[in-house]
Symmetry: C2
Subunit: 396 residues, 2 copies
C-alpha cells in the first residue's frame, strides 16, 4: 500500500492492452474526500505532451477528484488529435465515476480528472483500449489498490516505486515511475502523492514544490528532460487533521525523497548510484550548478562504470561551470571519492588506488569549492553498456 | 605533409616512452621564419592544465618559435610541480634549438616555446623521458616531418588528422588530435596550424578565432570540455605573400573544418556521425543553443546507435532550451531525419519507417524552428557500447 495508505483514496491498476508485454498499463486513483484538494508540478520542457497541457489547466483551480495514468504511450507530439484523446479520456473517467454517484455533489466533471501518460513519443494512443481499461479500473477501485496502480505505471522500471510517511493521525503515500530520461525540471516520471490531512490548495501546492525541489529535481540520471513529467498531490482531508506548510512539506519530502532514491536505484541499465555532493559553495544555486555539471559528464559516468576513480574527469566537469554562476578558485578544489581525498587543492591527493568503487553499488563523490557554506547533493547513475542497449532498442 | 606544407616549418615526431604502447608521443614544430607570428585559442575550462597556463602567457606577445607537444599525459591538476615540468620542457626546447643557432637573433627563449599535453589528468609526466624525446625530436626536425608529428600527438585516435589549404603562392597546413571528450569551447584536442603567408599577430589571432568558432567549436561529440584544449596558429612569412583577414580566415577555416570533420569521423567508439542542423532560428546563438541541446541528448544519441529514428527524443531535447534563449512555437516545429519529414508542426509527419539510418555512417537531422533566418550545424556522434567501453577502461 502506498497511495491508498492515507484515508479517503481508492485505486486500481489493470491491463488494457496498451503495453505489448500485456502487463498492467492503466491506473486510476480516486479521491473520495471529503476534500478534493490538488496540486501538480509539471515538466518545464517546452514540448509538452497533451496530458501535461490538460492537467495544467485542470488542476489550476486547486481541486481534482481523480487521476488516470497510462503507460504504453506518451501521447506527446501527437497534435490536436492527441489532445482530443486526452480530453476524451478525462470525460470518460468522469462519466464512469459519475455513474455511481449517490448525490449530485458526487458527480465528476472532466475538469476534475487529471491525466498522465508515459511511453513512446509521437504515436497516437489506442483510445478504445485505454477507455476499456478505464472501465475495468473503475470497476476494480479498492482501498488497497495502491500496489496495482503503482505496477500499472511502470515502463522500463523493473520494480514499482512506493513510499509512505506516517504521522500522528494522518499520513502521506506516494507512487512513482521513471527509469530513464531522468533529469532536473523533473525526471521522465509520473508520481502521485496522496494525503488525508486537511490542507488548502495553496499550502498543498507550496508543500509539493518544496518537496520536489530538493528531491525529484536533484535526480539527474541522464540529463534528458521529458515531455511528460508530472507530480500530483491529492489531499482528501479524511483524517480531519489540519496541518501547516512546514509539517506537510516535511512529510511529502520524506515520501518524494524515498521515491527519488528508488528511481535512481532502478535507472535504466545502471550498475552504480552516484551521490555527488558539492559543499563550500557560495550559494545553493552555485552548488547545484557544479553538481549538475559533474552528474552530466558522460566521461565521468563511464569511468564509474569501469570502477575507475578518474577524479580528473570530475575536475574537468567542475571547470565547465562559469565563474559568474559558481565562484571558486580552481587551485583550492578538493575531491573525495568514497571517502578518499584523491584531489587536494586542485592537484594530486591520496593515491587513486585506495578508492574502492567495485564493492558497492553506491558511490559518493564530494567536491569542496572552499567558497562558502552552501551544500547540495545530486544523484545520478553510471553510464553503462546496458543503458546504451536499453535506449537504442527502446522503440524497436 | 600537413603542418610542413607551408614554407618555413620543420617538424618531427618521436617515441619517448611516455605512451605505454611504445608509439610516438613527442612532437616538435619549429617556425624558421623569417617571421614568428603566433596566435592561440585555449580551453575555456576553469580547470586548466599547466601547459595551457604556460601557452596562454607565452603567446600573449603574438610570437612563438616552436611548439612542443606530448601525448601520454595531460599534466593537468598536477599543482606547482606540474607547472615546473612544463616550464622545464619549454626551457629545454629553447636550449636545444639555440644550440644550433647561427646568429644571436636565432637564439630561442623559453617564452618563445608553446607547450601542449594530452592524456590522463592528475598524473605527473615522466619529465626525463619527455626531455629525452625533445632531444630526439630536435635532432630529427625535417621539412617533411609533418606526418610524424601528427602521429605523435594521437591518444585514442585511430588515425592522424591532417589538412592543407593551397592558395596562390602560400598555403595553410594543420594537424589535430582528439577522439573523445569533444565539446564546445573546443574539444579535447590539440591542433597546430601553420601558414607561410605574411600576417601580423592581431590578424592571425582574429583569423584563428573566426575559424575555430565555426568549426572546432561546432563539434560536440560527448559534451565534455577538456582541461587541455589548444589550437595554435604559426605564421612564418616565408612565402612573402601578404594576406588580409578575410583571405586568411577563409583558408584557416578550410583547414580547421576539414580537421573538425576528421575528429568527428574518428570519435571514440562512434558508429555514426550526426550533423544536427537547426534553421529558421531567430539568431545564430539561438540556433546553436538548440543544436547543442540535441547533440547532448544521450537518449537521442543512443537511439541513433540503434538505427532508430526516434524523433520524439529530438523534440524533447529541443524543448529544454529556454524561450529567452531561442524563441519558437513548439507547435510549429519540423524535424527531418535523413531527408524524411518525420515531424511536422510539432506532431507526427511521414512514417518513421521510411528513415534509413543503417545504410550510412552519416546521419542528418534538420530542425526548423520557423522563427527567423539563422542556421547552424553542429556535429556529434552516436552513443555506443564502444564509447562506454573505451571511456570506462581508459585509465586502467
Amino acid at each position: 500500500m502506498s497511495i491508498t495508505a492515507p484515508a479517503g483514496f481508492r485505486a486500481a491498476g489493470v491491463a488494457a492492452g496498451l503495453k505489448s508485454s500485456g502487463g498492467r498499463d492503466v491506473a486510476l486513483v480516486v479521491n473520495d474526500g471529503p476534500r478534493r484538494t490538488a496540486a501538480a508540478v509539471l515538466t518545464t520542457n517546452r514540448v509538452q505532451a497533451a496530458p501535461v497541457v490538460w492537467t495544467r489547466q485542470a488542476v489550476s483551480d486547486g481541486a481534482a477528484r481523480a487521476v488516470v495514468l497510462n503507460s504504453g504511450g506518451a501521447n506527446a507530439c501527437t497534435g490536436p488529435e492527441g489532445f482530443t484523446d486526452t480530453h476524451r479520456t478525462a470525460e470518460h473517467v468522469a462519466a464512469v465515476l459519475s455513474a455511481g454517484a449517490a448525490t449530485p455533489e458526487d458527480e465528476v466533471g472532466a475538469g476534475d480528472v487529471l491525466v498522465c501518460s508515459t511511453g513512446l513519443i509521437g504515436l497516437r494512443l489506442d483510445t478504445d483500449a485505454l477507455l476499456g481499461g478505464v472501465d475495468a479500473a473503475a470497476a476494480g477501485l479498492a482501498a488497497d489498490g495502491g500496489d496495482a496502480a503503482a505496477d500499472a505505471i511502470r515502463t522500463t522500471d523493473t520494480v514499482s516505486k512506493q513510499a509512505v510517511a506516517l504521522r500522528d493521525g494522518w499520513s502521506v503515500g506516494g507512487m512513482a515511475k521513471g527509469a530513464g530520461m531522468l533529469a532536473p525540471g523533473l525526471a521522465t516520471m509520473l508520481s502521485v502523492i496522496t494525503t488525508d490531512c486537511v490542507v488548502d490548495a495553496a499550502t498543498a501546492d507550496a508543500a509539493l514544490r518544496a518537496a520536489t525541489r530538493t528531491t525529484f529535481d536533484r535526480v539527474d540520471s541522464d540529463g534528458c528532460m521529458s515531455t511528460n513529467d508530472t507530480v500530483i498531490l491529492l489531499a482528501s482531508g479524511a483524517s480531519g487533521v489540519e496541518v501547516g506548510l512546514d509539517e506537510l512539506s516535511a512529510a511529502v519530502t520524506e515520501v518524494t525523497a524515498s521515491l527519488a532514491r528508488e528511481l535512481v536505484a532502478d535507472a535504466e541499465g545502471a550498475s552504480h548510484d552516484i551521490a555527488v555532493t558539492v559543499r563550500g559553495a557560495s550559494s545553493e544555486d552555485a552548488a547545484l550548478a557544479v553538481a549538475r555539471a559533474v552528474t552530466r559528464s558522460n566521461l565521468f559516468k563511464a569511468a564509474v562504470f569501469g570502477n575507475d576513480p578518474n577524479w580528473g574527469r570530475v575536475l574537468a566537469a567542475v571547470g565547465t561551470v562559469p565563474a559568474e554562476v559558481a565562484p571558486y578558485d580552481p587551485l583550492t578544489l578538493d575531491v573525495a571519492m568514497n571517502g578518499v581525498q584523491v584531489c587536494r587543492a586542485g592537484g594530486v591527493g591520496e593515491p587513486r588506488e585506495l578508492v574502492d568503487l567495485a564493492s558497492a553499488r553506491e558511490v559518493r563523490v564530494e567536491v569542496d569549492l572552499h567558497a562558502g557554506d552552501a551544500e547540495v547533493t545530486v544523484w545520478t547513475n553510471d553510464l553503462t553498456h546496458d543503458y546504451v542497449h536499453e535506449n537504442s532498442a527502446y522503440s524497436s
